[in-house]
């Protein structure tokens, strides 16, 4: 592990240092969710785990996709695919701000030379039926993270409250590494035998996806997939809680939530294709929110979500 008192030399070193830092602070280091999502918040480790009473502490990188932000790899800081680093701790510890500042130090921000500020920024996700209060964190006038205390998710009051940290990794890394164009940023160590820049890794895909997102994606197919995902989500949640095969209580919140994520991403693709009008937009967002709420309803019916069988049920099953 590199010495934290030095400035990191690459994008990946910043990620590795964050992983090491949060691991050391007791978070479970999870892997990215294996589906297309618009932000790290959509990972079930955040959305679903912020519900219910069970304590939780997780950190992970989440590749995120925002089809409308694609610029064919030409814009210095806009990408249709980028990385977020996400930390979720429930209940939010009293020293979360200090922990967060420690993570900045760990990735090479010298607290004695920089001006770190917590500037009001309330967070709301209409698609997840979620909101929270917090700040955007500024380092010398640049937003480097979002810091949120979740108040509601999927229409449920969060109790206890989770503290969520989201780092926009590319922007943060560009700042720390002093790079002006994302594609020029060293991905691995510049001294490696095969040094790779962010552009070496992603310029090709940014071009390809921008073309597909904006002009080629088959909107009829997407519209159909949206409806199918919506139907599948509802159908999964319509199943009886008790599995007839095993006789166990298995509420399928996660498979249903996968369909909700899918619908959300398809909506983003349709939006990028420009086939959704202003009024339809609201309707689509509302449909995804309905799914998110249903999934939240289901999750709190699971043991992980804090459901406990009452005595009568225990007796009946015994």
């Amino acid at each position: 592990m590199s010495d934290v008192s030095t400035t990191p030399r690459s994008f990946q070193e910043i990620i590795l240092r964050l992983q090491a830092y949060w691991a050391q602070k007791g978070c479970a280091i999870l892997q990215p969710y294996d589906m297309e999502v618009g932000a790290g918040t959509f990972h079930p480790a955040t959305t679903l785990r912020s519900l219910g009473t069970q304590p939780w502490a997780a950190a992970y990188v989440q590749p995120s996709r925002r089809p409308t932000d694609g610029r064919y790899g030409e814009n210095p800081n806009r990408l249709q695919h980028y990385y977020q680093y996400q930390v979720l701790i429930k209940p939010s510890p009293p020293d979360l701000q200090a922990l967060y500042l420690g993570s900045l130090e760990a990735i090479g921000v010298d607290m004695d030379l920089h001006d770190i500020r917590f500037v009001e920024d309330d967070w709301e996700s209409p698609t997840l039926g979620a909101w929270g209060l917090g700040w955007e964190v500024w380092c010398d006038g640049m937003e480097v993270s979002q810091f949120t205390y979740f108040q509601q998710v999927g229409g449920y009051d969060c109790h206890p409250v989770s503290g969520e940290l989201t780092y926009g990794l590319e922007r943060l890394a560009m700042y720390i590494l002093g790079v002006d164009h994302v594609m020029d940023m060293p991905f691995n160590d510049p001294g490696a035998s095969i040094p790779l820049s962010y552009g070496d890794v992603f310029r090709q895909t940014e071009e390809e996806y921008a073309r597909w997102n904006f002009d080629v994606a088959n909107t009829e197919v997407l519209l159909r997939h949206f409806v199918e995902a919506e139907q599948e989500c509802k159908s999964i949640l319509g199943q009886a809680h008790d599995d007839p095969k095993t006789g166990k209580r298995i509420v399928m919140a996660h498979p249903a939530y996968d369909q909700c994520i899918k619908a959300s991403h398809i909506f983003n693709l349709l939006d990028a294709r420009g086939v959704i009008s202003v009024t339809e937009r609201q309707a689509y967002i509302g449909r995804v929110r309905t799914l998110a709420k249903m999934c939240a309803d289901a999750f709190v019916q699971t043991r992980a979500g804090g459901w406990v069988p009452d005595a009568a049920d225990e007796k009946a099953t015994a």
């Binding site: 009293p94 004695d112 001006d115 770190i116 500020r117 010398d140 006038g141 640049m142 108040q151 202003v278």
Partner: protein, 731 residues
């Protein structure tokens, strides 16, 4: 007399909420103390990003003992009634006193409430203040249930007497009070204890915290202007930004940075907006040219490198921001060069303004047509007003306004200039949204006024036509603001403006618009409906057509005019004119001419402030009441005017003469709209009217005399009512 010091220490409080929160803390706590009997000499509250502080000086050390005497039931009342009284008063039977009263023997209780020590009261009051604090938005955190703006970390609460400071013990949701606080998050993070307000302020300053927001703001402004002055520059004043920035820092350090030359060609508003909105920078301009050349940022700390790293970082962020702005600016200019402003505005046809009111392009067409009509009374050339209205909203389709919505109008001006418009047209593009608020300046250039009025009237009539009127506190389309805009445009430019005429014109066009859209839908759907029913039946077709026709909802402009009148009342009430005075004037002919209406109201207000005016109202009302009763009883209308030959008393004849004289003065004055003369002529009737009622009995036994007197009263009513409807005046 002890002092009290309270500090509520939390994570960062949004800047915009701090000053209100300090005031609320002061009010909640001091009100609570006073209510419990603890009076004090003075109190002051302060806020920084991380703390709310209250100091109360010269407070009582304990609340005074109070005695309350309460009257109970009669001595011979049933036991149940007496027991109830005892419970309510909290006393025992043997503590009651029996006293003789005119109604017989009655029981009295004396309730004594002993004084309580101040710390007990403070603890109670503070806990209540914390739990019920009126934050605009509050939150929970961790596993607790307390709500605060952001997590609350500590409560400092001490009482300082002659023999030192003592902690007032209290606990709110697991947070126990103490006498410690912390300094600056980075520069002096350690906790320390304090012994009083002065000690607290001094220690905070040593710990890099300036407690008083006014002191922070002054310091920032002082340093900023000095830095700028040294470079021959001046800081663009922005009180709102200064207050906000002072709320973001505990230890302000002012730094001045460069704007890259590449961006200096951007319009100053673009530089200023981008710097202010995104970065909270002050703009710094050359004193001579007014060109914005530098920026001022306020850091929350000192550094070993004198802020060099901080400034370099801020400069980089700004360059990225301005690179975006420059990109939009150049793209927009390119678009205008290629396809003109109308070409740029073409996409507005695809932007829905409201699904029942068509697109932005439809709206622009309506405003242009209306602006042409309005141009005449406001003294603008109709062609220029139309031209300005057509392009005033073109910038809504620009990339710059998409990115910076607050630059709408401003960019319109630059783009209109770039497209070669002049003669006040670019200015109208910039000004046609004005006035936005009650303190916003009102445009005075005729073309600007014409387009601004057309814009607002179209908004009002449009939403009226689709029945989206404001209700209660709900006004999603800001129609009250639009109405106030119309009122101020007319009044402050002293326009003779027949509101009804233009409301009607506009309503008609909005109505047509609504019908076109609605009908199009109906007509499109009609064949389907018919096919579904499998018929080409003539009667059915007729019915469908009628259904389409029926969608035309009758609306008239009088409803909208009374909405404008209501807003006018609010506007004038703020200037001290009573609503009944306005009502008395609204009831008169021509009240859709708001300038005239207000002149009348002001004159009436002035006359009612005089002794004569005030008493005249009484005389008028008396005359009116007697007359109305007589007319109702007799079933006739006494409207002939009296005849002097039936006058018996001298006062009667004098009133006759006075009425004649008043009429002779009021008539011509009213014709000249000289309300002041008319009103004073009317007020001059007070003496004769009072004397008349003093000396004369209207309901005389002599029928002829009575009729004559009633006819005389009728003259009073008639003459007064030509000036204003005095029957609507209160009192």
């Amino acid at each position: 007399m002890p002092d009290l010091l309270i500090e509520l220490f939390s994570e960062e409080i949004p800047a915009r909420m701090q000053s209100r929160a300090a005031a609320d803390l002061k009010k909640l706590v001091t009100d609570g103390l006073v209510e419990a009997g603890l009076t004090y000499a003075s109190a002051a509250a302060f806020a920084t990003p991380r703390r709310l502080t209250l100091t109360v000086e010269g407070m009582l050390a304990q609340s005074p003992t109070t005695r309350e005497e309460r009257k109970g039931p009669k001595a011979d009342a049933p036991d149940k009634a007496i027991e109830g009284f005892l419970r309510g008063a909290g006393v025992t039977r043997d503590q009651l006193e029996q006293r003789e009263t005119p109604k017989g023997p009655v029981l009295f209780a004396t309730i004594e409430r002993p004084g309580r020590p101040a710390p007990d009261i403070v603890a109670e009051v503070l806990e209540q203040a914390i739990r019920g604090f009126p934050w605009p938005k509050a939150m929970r955190w961790g596993a607790g249930s307390l709500r605060w703006v952001r997590p609350l970390h500590s409560i400092l609460c001490i009482m300082v007497g002659d023999d030192g400071a003592e902690v007032v013990p209290l606990e709110v949701d697991g947070i126990a009070s103490g006498d410690t606080t912390r300094g600056h998050r980075f520069l002096s993070p350690d906790a320390f204890s304090v012994t009083g307000f002065d000690d607290y302020c001094a220690r905070l300053k040593r710990a890099h915290v300036v407690l008083d927001p006014a002191e922070r703001a002054q310091g920032i402004w002082h340093d900023a202007t000095n830095l700028a002055f040294a470079g021959g520059l001046e800081v663009v004043e922005d009180a709102g930004l200064l207050a906000e920035v002072a709320g973001l820092v505990e230890w302000p350090v002012v730094l001045m940075g460069q704007i890259d030359d590449a961006f200096l060609g951007l319009p100053p508003e673009v530089l200023q907006t981008s710097m202010k909105e995104h970065q909270k920078f002050f703009s710094v301009r050359a004193a001579k040219t007014g060109r914005i050349e530098r920026f001022i940022t306020v850091a929350n700390r000192t550094t070993a490198d004198q802020g060099a790293t901080i400034l370099a970082g801020n400069q980089r962020v700004l360059s990225a921001r301005l690179a975006d702005a420059k990109f939009f600016w150049e793209n927009d200019l390119r678009t205008i060069k290629a396809v003109g402003l109308e070409g740029m505005a073409a996409p507005l046809a695809e932007v829905t303004f409201h699904n029942k009111l068509g697109s932005q392009a439809d709206r622009v067409a309506r405003i242009a047509a209306l602006a042409r009509e309005i141009a005449v009374p406001v003294g603008a050339k109709p062609d220029l007003a139309t031209e300005a209205a057509r392009i005033a909203k073109a910038d809504l389709a620009s990339e710059m306004v998409y990115e910076f919505p607050e630059l709408q109008g401003t960019m319109g001006k630059y783009y209109a200039e770039a497209a070669g418009h002049d003669d006040g047209v670019p200015q109208a593009c910039a000004e046609h949204y004005s006035p936005l608020g009650p303190s916003d300046a009102v445009p005075t250039a005729p073309i600007s006024v014409a387009v601004a009025l057309a814009d607002k009237i179209d908004t009002l009539t449009g939403f009226w036509a689709i029945d989206e009127k404001p209700t209660g506190s709900k006004d999603p389309f800001a129609l009250r603001r639009a109405a106030l805009g119309v009122i101020r445009l007319v009044l402050e430019n002293d326009l003779k403006f027949e509101m009804n005429h233009f409301l009607k014109k506009s309503l008609l066009s909005a109505e047509i618009q609504r019908l076109v859209i609605h009908r199009k839908k109906e007509i499109e759907e009609a064949p389907n409906a018919l096919l579904k029913m499998g018929t080409t039946d003539e009667t059915l077709i007729m019915e469908v057509r009628e259904a389409v026709e029926d969608t035309k909802i009758g609306i008239d402009q009088s409803d909208l005019l009374s909405f404008l009148h209501d807003r006018l009342k609010v506007y004038l009430r703020e200037q001290g004119i009573r609503h009944d005075i306005i009502d008395a004037c609204i009831a008169m002919e021509g009240s859709d001419d708001l300038s005239l209406l207000v002149k009348r109201a002001r004159a009436l207000d002035a006359v009612l402030r005089t002794d004569d005016g005030e008493n005249l109202i009484q005389g008028f009302k008396r005359a009116n009441n007697i007359l109305s009763q007589a007319e109702a009883a007799d079933g006739v209308e006494y409207s002939f005017g009296g005849d002097i030959k039936f006058c018996e008393a001298e006062e009667e004849r004098a009133l006759f003469a006075a009425l004649d004289a008043a009429e002779a003065r009021i008539g011509p004055a009213m014709a000249q709209q000289d309300f002041a003369t008319a009103m004073s002529a009317m007020a001059a009737l007070r003496g004769p009217i009072d004397a008349f009622f003093e000396a004369v009995q209207v309901n005389s036994d002599n029928g002829t005399v009575r009729r004559n007197r009633l006819n005389l009263l009728s003259s009073i009513r008639k003459i007064c009512l030509t000036v204003a409807d005095l029957s609507r005046i209160d009192g």
